[in-house]
Amino acid sequence: MGNKKINQLADGITEELTEELFEFAEFDEEEAQRAGYSNYSYWRSTWQVFIQNRVALFCLILVSLLVVFTIIQPYLPNQKLPTKIYIDEKTNMQLRNHPPDSEFWFGTNSIGQDLWSRIWSGTRTSLFIGLVVAIWEAVAGIAIGSLWGYVRVLDRPITEIYNVLDNIPVTIVLILMTYILRPSLSTIIMAMCITGWLGMARFVRNLIVIIRDREYNLASRCLGTPTRRIITRNLLPYLVSVIMLRMALAIPAAIGYEVFLTYIGLGLPVSIPSLGNLINEGRALMMVPSLRYQLIFPAVVLSVITISFYVMGNAFADAADPRNHV
């Protein structure tokens, strides 16, 4: 117990105490100028702290590689088409459920399509959905959320708009949209965007409500700072870490939501591969050991994406706190 206390006390004084520290410093003009000038940049420091976290850096590289790979994969030599059905020469029928080998790296599915190319094509689709939805969520969510939280006149109307939009079942909207348009990538993205920003807006709004009446904001207001400046300079920087974590999770969440939509039958058609329908197809095979690869491969890709974003989000959130900057 005693040791701990001392450690805690020492916490504040992190540097080791050496003799040097107790010597007189001589006046040096150059040094003095350097101390007066700061080349501190918030985002650069954040970045520097971020890359010091080696796991996070690894994840960043991994995700970047993944994105690059999904984009260039179709142009690599010897790649198969994700929708082409392969025929077994012996039976002259589809090459069904062919286990992974040197020809089909991830095997084939139940109608003889190459899973390797389907997974990359699916990852491309899902990442695209996730990215678009997450960016929209971030932009609309933060903008509306901060106005909702900070500007009192807007509190009531936005609360009511939120209530209306949040309580109209997404399923109805989705069914009507696929009915009027047709099940496709843009339909699903649009449907997810319509309601996707609500959660983010409420999240930001809550955080802002908590800090909006703090003294420094009151002071700012008394000095006549415009609302926009208070939001962008006083409020949002304070929330960068949590917002970053939430945004990092938005991409995997969007992909996860697509899996859910597929589960209730409103996802993308099977002819457009996505991680959602690949996992949903694979789920039925969980009890079939020899075919389980059809579930494992897409699930692993999804996990890699989710884990990377989670780790990056947390590392970035840590890095975003200026107190952690050296």
Binding site: I85, R96, S110, G265, S271, M287
Partner: protein, 613 residues
């Protein structure tokens, strides 16, 4: 809140108990003899058999309420609530004598009343009242005299409708026109009886749960907890008690039944599981599991690929070009012979795909003429016995079509093929069909475009709207007569409008096929002639490639402790859904036993049908 806390506490205690290793063993204690346990994923919406037309709903009712006639396991008509019947010489008036002493009982098994002729009249009155939203009313008014007028409120006097209780045990139906297959219709829900007094008492509540229903059939619905379970117990006062071997049927609801049922079956908790096509490979490889599964019998839903003669899809898919192409016989025939139905079927039936492939629109074993199957009559036999897939012929016809359509149509011809995204098999199948046909015929000849469509309003938006070029369609029979399979293609149908096909007009302004069907329909006395005429019409229809016959429904594999050959057999009606006469086996039947039993059954059936004549 207290209850929640209590539950939480209970949970924690049970958890602790489990960790301590004190497990319950009550599950394994003595199993009831002749109890049949299943898992189901589709909950019924109502038990009101006078309203529903959905198989899983009337499947329950079939076990609660008996019909006038019944079928045995070979498909021969047997007396049930009616003991004898006769028809007037003009074929219009049917008189049936009812079995005496059959009782209506409540869900507790208490006697309520006797089943009398008036019960059938009351049921019909209910069905024909349009306010009651009956889905089967159209089947009644397609045959019964004045029924349609009553339904449309053109007449209000029910006594004019062709159903009468002559006395307590005598029932009389008067028909609109002679209908040779009328007797088979009596096996359907719209000819079920209902106790009028009880119906009035219940009002709108009739058939909403097990207490608002009366039973005169083999089973009583003892417990009805929607989306949890239902328990059927044998009716102690049933008139034919000796033939009820399964005493209790417990059905448990689970939305994920397709995934969980095989596992539960292996653990011995249920007696029936469908083995889906994704699981079948694994089960076939494992010798223990392989011994538990057998094929299912095929059904009477007919699947076919239809060419649309009235294309109304959007301009980008070139409907006019399609119209030109589809009216060319050689183009249709090239497609007809190019479709590899086995490759397509592999998406639904990876093992033994042939058993479901059908070469005719009317499935095999649907009706027979003195023991000869309908599909073997006249020129239909030729089509029934040959596979339509023939790459050589397909290319030959392609050559002819190219020649004839040169300069008239634009190649490649765009073939719009939509599918319903909620049917996974179908989504796979369209991809297989697209690639298979394009590979064979060449992408310079046809360009198949697959279009995902949502399940919402699928039929109305796609097929009925003519919003397709080439589509997989299906049709189920409404009565036991080949006429039922001509309905989709007869003018007024909403399938592919073959009456608009060019080059088939006859003197009376109708298409040849329509005239052939009319001729067959007019023949109501000589059944042999009637069937032959229908067979000829169907042969003509297939020969001219208006559609490509593809498959029959049903099939798949299952693990089951019931013997499928003990169950009542009927292509139409409710008999096939009854548990009557079935016994629970020691272990599930395997494929070899199934094949042996099937052969035995087919032989016995042929004899039974001959004997019945």
């Amino acid at each position: 809140m207290k209850r929640v806390l209590a539950l939480a506490l209970a949970l924690i205690m049970v958890l602790a108990g489990c960790a301590g290793g004190s497990q319950k063993t009550e599950e394994t204690s003595g199993e009831l003899e002749q109890e049949y346990r299943t898992l189901y994923s589709g909950e019924v919406t109502t038990l009101n058999y006078l309203k529903t037309a959905t198989t899983n709903e009337f499947a329950l009712a079939a076990n609660f309420v008996d019909t006038l006639i019944d079928y045995d396991k070979y498909g021969v008509i047997q007396p049930c609530l009616a003991t004898e019947w006769n028809v007037s010489d003009d074929g219009l008036v049917w008189t049936l004598k009812l079995r005496e002493g059959v009782k209506w009982v409540t869900h507790e098994g208490q006697e309520y009343a006797e089943v009398v002729a008036q019960d059938f009249v009351d049921a019909m009155m209910y069905i024909l009242d349009s306010k009651n939203e009956s889905s089967t009313a159209n089947i009644v008014y397609s045959v019964i005299k004045n029924a349609e007028k009553f339904y449309n409120q053109e007449i209000t006097d029910f006594t004019q409708v062709g159903v009468k209780a002559l006395d307590k045990y005598t029932l009389e139906y008067t028909l609109e026109k002679p209908t040779p297959y009328f007797l088979s219709m009596l096996n359907y829900v719209c000819f079920f009886p209902v106790n009028g007094q009880f119906l009035n008492e219940m009002g709108e509540r009739f058939g909403t749960d097990n207490t608002s229903l009366l039973y005169n059939g083999a089973y009583i619905l003892e417990t009805f907890e929607p989306q949890t379970r239902r328990i059927l117990v044998a009716n102690e006062s049933y008139w034919d008690k000796e033939n009820i071997h399964i005493k209790k049927i417990s059905q448990t609801y689970n939305k994920e039944a397709t995934t969980l049922a095989p596992e539960l079956l292996l653990r011995g908790e249920i007696d029936y599981a469908d083995i889906s096509s994704s699981l079948i490979d694994e089960w076939m490889k494992d010798p223990v599991k392989k011994d538990m599964i057998r094929p299912n019998r095929t059904g009477f839903y007919s699947y076919f690929y239809a060419f649309n003669f009235d294309p109304k899809f959007s301009e980008e898919y070139e409907p006019d070009n399609w119209r030109i192409a589809v009216n060319n016989l050689n183009f249709r025939k090239s497609m007809f012979h190019a479709l590899d139905r086995k490759a397509a079927m592999l998406t639904a039936e990876p093992y033994d795909p042939e058993k479901r492939i059908s070469n005719t629109i009317t499935p095999k074993n649907f009706v027979d003429l003195d023991g000869t199957d309908y599909t073997q009559l006249g020129s239909l036999a030729k089509f029934a016995n040959t596979d339509s897939f023939d790459p050589k012929l397909a290319l030959e016809y392609k050559g002819k079509a190219l020649e004839e359509l040169q300069g008239k149509a634009k190649f490649p011809i765009k073939v719009l093929m939509p599918y319903n995204t909620s049917v996974v098999d179908w989504a796979n199948r369209v991809q297989v069909v697209e690639q298979q046909m394009e590979n064979l015929l060449g992408t310079d000849y046809i360009d198949i475009i697959i279009e995902p469509k949502p399940p919402t309003g699928f039929l109305a938006e796609v097929r009925r709207a003519g919003n397709y070029a080439f589509l997989e369609c299906n049709w189920g029979p409404d009565y036991a007569d080949p006429e039922t399979y001509t309905d989709p293609f007869y003018p007024g149908g909403t399938y592919n409008w073959p009456e608009l096909a060019e080059g088939y007009k006859e003197a009376n302004g109708k298409n040849k096929y329509t005239n052939m069907v009319d001729a067959a329909k007019a023949e109501v006395i000589d059944i042999a002639n009637r069937y032959t005429l229908f067979a000829e019409a169907e042969a003509f229809f297939i020969d001219q490639a208006f559609v490509i016959p593809y498959a029959v429904g049903g099939g798949g594999y299952s693990a089951s402790r019931l013997n499928p050959f003990e169950s009542q057999y009927s292509p139409f009606g409710v008999s096939a859904e009854r548990y009557k006469g079935q016994k629970i086996m020691e272990k599930p039947m395997n494929s070899e036993e199934f094949t042996a039993e099937l052969q035995k059954w087919e032989k016995e059936r042929a004899e039974a049908l001959k004997a019945a004549k």
